[in-house]
Symmetry: C2
Subunit: 139 residues, 2 copies
DNA sequence: AGTATTTTGCAACAAAGTTGCATTCTTTAT
DNA sequence: ATAAAGAATGCAACTTTGTTGCAAAATACT
């Protein structure tokens, strides 16, 4: 059983061509992808609607997580094994957005520091996005 | 000269009815607004296009800043006086998104802690969005 | 007040996202 | 291996969101 197949089965999703393809795309890159990126890579293979629904499903199952942006183009990245296996999502790493190449990267090794909220606030999730120049673009 | 008028003049923008109205809307609320929120509050007074352009202008002048989201609806909030007066933007506070009332709040008193990036990465901006339950919704 | 410049509204368009339904594909149980 | 049940897909139509060019109107400057 292939890697993508076992990811799908572990999330009790049926194994379909489009889901395998989209998962393959995520596995093949080291950065986060916007809906549009995936649409381009799927070329004319799959319907736009299918891609929307597949990403939605993957999100719900915790196979991917989304990264907040300021450009109205939410990006998605594969969750690490811990998330997928436990089904419980703990996306506690920093995301990096490179201004030069435009890539969005998961800095898995950089943990988000905790902050103390004012009295009365209850924290559920925390997200940190850093922008700048990435390793590959810096000379 | 009214408060909104002086904000506009300080940014060397001409004072127009739509700009005053939109600034008034921001001043009247304590939370961040999406484009759509503003469109609703402006009712049929101003054209959709004008609102897009006004928000764009305010962003460029540093009168408002935008807050990243995971729902393809970037939100905007007024910058504090420091940003507006210096023209230089330093949006170093944490943003809070309440799951119950849906409001996005600037926690001006909570500074974003710095993180150490891996070698080779250069940081330019940093954003932190915390979600959970806000003071007003928590009982 | 009169002119130059900027902003606005309109129209038309492009892109992004959603919904219902019939068809096709997967799964499950014989 | 196959048939029935259930789930996913593609299509069409539609809604929402965002963009662009240009003429008309408003604002700023002298």
């Amino acid at each position: 059983m292939s890697r993508v197949e076992s990811i799908l089965r572990n999330s009790s999703l049926s194994v379909t061509a489009s889901r395998k393809k989209i998962l393959d795309i995520f596995l093949a890159v080291d950065n986060a992808l916007a809906h549009q990126d995936i649409e381009q890579k799927c070329a004319d293979e799959y319907d736009r609607v299918t891609i929307y629904r597949t990403l939605q499903t993957f999100l719900e199952k915790g196979i991917i997580h989304n990264i907040p942006t300021t450009d109205n183009a939410v990006r998605y990245a594969l969750c690490n094994d811990a998330c997928i296996n436990t089904g419980h999502h703990h996306d506690n790493h920093v995301h990096f957005l490179c201004d030069e190449c435009g890539k969005t990267l998961c800095l898995d090794e950089v943990m988000i520091p905790t902050v103390k909220l004012p009295a009365g606030y209850a924290m559920k999730e925390i997200n940190m996005v850093v922008s700048g120049t990435c390793k590959s673009c810096k000379k």
